[in-house]
């Protein structure tokens, strides 16, 4: 199952569960507020941050406009540095290449650093099905893997779990003493992972940025696991979405000024690794082979369509942390690898609006996502485009389709509209006996579940205005 296919439980059930999970909502409140504040502080401290954002946006726009050119250049550069490149049209091709490679090279254990792309294409399951053991080495991903769950945030995948829950999980799965001390939990994971790193035959990473001019792969991590994954095992496989390119190292520098600041509020992550090719003769460490898997999986189609701007995204997660909807329901309710405002666009863009018709509607269009996006993606407009596309494809409840048609029809006939207004006014005043209404029939019961509805004014605006003019 790929990360772009919804789970069996319907969207409203997932939302309902999330809203009733007090622990989840408390964790989300704390973490999103902390990241939002840290991001603001980091941007205030960055001289001329608005100009840097504009610059970054121009780089993204330029790169994607000439993506074919830069991809060819990137492939040439990687190959010149001694790496192999495979173009995967979709998840299946990407997974097949990696599993075949593992089989051919006799790989028994794969160690991974955090990669949302591999979640998107379901690579772990494909490898496990081929009899290869897969171990996540990012602490949060390690926790998620032990729990058999999915990430709920693109930067901090285990944001929905408390230290206490992690302690219970480690106790159950690893037999450690129950504790909620983060340092002790970290030490447990660390000692378990050391041995994994040494045993692993293949390291799999994502790619934060690929540099076209040099064939360099840039990885940003805070735990140093990315460096072990790419230097200890004899094979390194880098999984890269085709849009994740920058033309040159100069451009990379602009992106790196923004990525950590917007993600966690750090100036830079603890580790920023630039990897060019496999180990060269005379070098003490590094893999014997480097394979870069360029994954399309709907990206070319997206680039050609109206949602192309979503490919500017550098996966910082700022729009998740700022979003008032994400903050209430968390990542799992979205059901996709990519949650939050960016997920509500990128998921239907890559996976098809049919399977994800609700996601573009899970937004009040308040505009915070557009405000915080480091590359200024106009997310509300993209959400509106998706709503439009979904509506045209018939993904809309009947009451809404009929209701809106009727409303628009009446609005264009002023006499009728005023008559309708007078009727609605009389009705609401009659039913509510002049007071606000506490209950309305479905679908408006969704409003009165938590809000009263006012009786409509006795006199409409036009009448009141005419009376005043007399």
């Amino acid at each position: 199952m790929s990360g772009l296919r919804p789970s069996g439980r319907p969207f409203n059930v997932r939302v309902h569960d999330a809203l009733n999970d007090d622990q989840l909502r408390a964790a989300l409140t704390t973490v999103t507020a902390r990241f939002t504040a840290a991001r603001l502080n980091a941007l205030v401290a960055l001289p001329d941050s608005d100009a840097v954002r504009d610059h970054a946006r121009r780089i993204r726009a330029h790169t994607l406009r000439k993506l074919d050119v830069y991809l060819s250049q990137f492939v040439e550069s990687v190959e010149a540095a001694g790496g192999h490149v495979f173009w995967a049209r979709d998840a299946q091709e990407a997974n097949a290449y990696v599993t075949d490679l593992a089989r051919e090279r006799g790989v028994r254990l794969v160690v991974k650093s955090k990669s949302m792309l591999t979640e998107e294409i379901g690579l772990n399951r494909a490898l496990e099905a081929a009899g290869v053991e897969v171990a996540e080495s990012d602490l949060a991903e390690y926790i998620i893997q032990l729990a058999g769950e999915r990430p709920s945030h693109i930067v901090v995948p285990a944001v929905h779990k408390t230290a206490k829950q992690v302690g219970e999980l480690f106790h159950e799965k690893l037999g450690t003493r129950p504790t909620d001390d983060p340092a002790a939990l970290n030490a447990t994971a660390r000692s378990n992972l050391r041995e994994t790193f040494l045993r692993a035959d293949m390291g799999i990473t994502g790619v934060n940025f690929g540099v076209a001019e040099s064939g360099t792969i840039c990885l940003v991590t805070n735990e140093g696991n990315g460096r072990l994954v790419t230097s200890v095992p004899r094979l390194h496989v880098a999984m890269m979405g085709i849009e994740r390119l920058v033309p040159g190292l100069q451009d990379l520098a602009v992106m790196l000024q923004l990525l950590a600041r917007n993600a966690t509020g750090q100036k830079a992550t603890v580790y920023t690794s630039l990897l060019t090719g496999p180990r060269r003769p005379g070098e003490p460490d590094g893999p014997e082979e480097l394979h870069v898997v360029l994954v399309d999986n709907g990206r070319t189609r997206t680039l050609a369509g109206e949602l192309a701007e979503i490919l500017y995204c550098i996966r910082c997660g700022a729009c998740l942390n700022g979003c008032p909807v994400y903050r209430e329901i968390g990542g799992h309710a979205y059901g996709s690898t990519y949650p939050g405002p960016v997920g509500a666009v990128v998921t239907p863009a890559l996976g098809g609006v049919g399977a994800w018709a609700e996601l573009p509607h899970a937004s009040s269009l308040c505009g915070v996502c557009r405000e915080v996006c480091p590359v200024r993606i106009d997310l509300p407009s993209l959400l509106l485009k998706l709503r439009d596309e979904g509506t045209r494809a018939g993904h809309r409840p009947l009451w809404l389709a009929v209701g809106l048609k009727l409303y628009a029809w009446a609005v264009c006939r002023p006499a009728l509209f005023r008559l309708g207004g007078r009727l609605a006014s009389a009705l609401t005043r009659l039913v509510g006996r002049g007071d606000w209404l506490r209950r309305l029939p479905p679908p408006l019961s969704a409003w009165t579940a938590s809000r009263d509805f006012p009786p409509l004014a006795k006199q409409d605006f036009v009448a009141a205005w005419r009376e005043k003019q007399k």
Partner: protein, 185 residues
């Protein structure tokens, strides 16, 4: 519907002033985009967008008035509605008008710029999420112990009024225009 509205307003002259930031944002930003490919209504939408103002924006930016000589004794909290704030970029106008009201104490809530959860049909289509957002907003507003909640968007104010009635609290809701006119809360 947009074409009908454009035809109606086409026959008018001068400024079009709206008591809601979201409606003004619709006419200023979304109509031109909606009609971009229409040879007749596209230019109409663009022309209209240049003479549409939200109420506080019109009073301060066009009329040049920051003090209307109003009086209100009490503690007031202002909600900067999303489309007014992030859509039209209007914020200081209403705050200036409010600050110049005699006798008023303006207080700022936590997470002042966060959406109240209305979002038009979102409040019905995604009623549970909308309600959760509203409750958080009301918690923050009530914590200020203000007497009056004011703002420049009828729909957000309607939404928060509806929620406040279930809380049985003393916070009253008034549009900024009502407050400036000196209406009783």
């Amino acid at each position: 519907m947009a074409r009908h509205t454009l035809d109606l307003l086409d026959g008018s002259e001068g400024a079009v002033v709206l008591p809601s930031g979201s409606c003004a944002d619709m006419l200023v930003h979304h109509y031109p985009r909606l009609m971009a490919d229409d040879p007749v209504y596209g230019p109409k939408a663009t022309a209209l967008s240049k003479r549409v103002y939200e109420f506080s924006q019109y009073v301060v930016d066009v009329l040049g008035v920051k003090d209307v000589g109003a009086r209100h004794d009490g503690r007031v909290v202002y909600h900067p509605s999303c489309h007014l704030l992030r859509g039209l970029g209007v914020d200081s106008q209403a705050r200036n008008l409010l600050a110049n009201v005699e006798g008023v104490e303006v207080v700022e809530p936590e997470e002042a710029k966060t959406c109240c959860g209305f979002g038009g049909l979102f409040a019905v289509k995604m009623g549970d999420i909308s309600s959760a957002m509203l409750q958080r907003k009301l918690d923050n507003l009530l914590a200020t112990e203000a007497d009056v909640l004011t703002g420049c968007d009828m729909s957000c104010l309607l939404h928060m009024s509806g929620g406040l009635r279930r809380r049985d609290k003393a916070l009253r809701v008034m549009h900024l225009a009502e407050l400036l006119r000196g209406d009783a809360p």
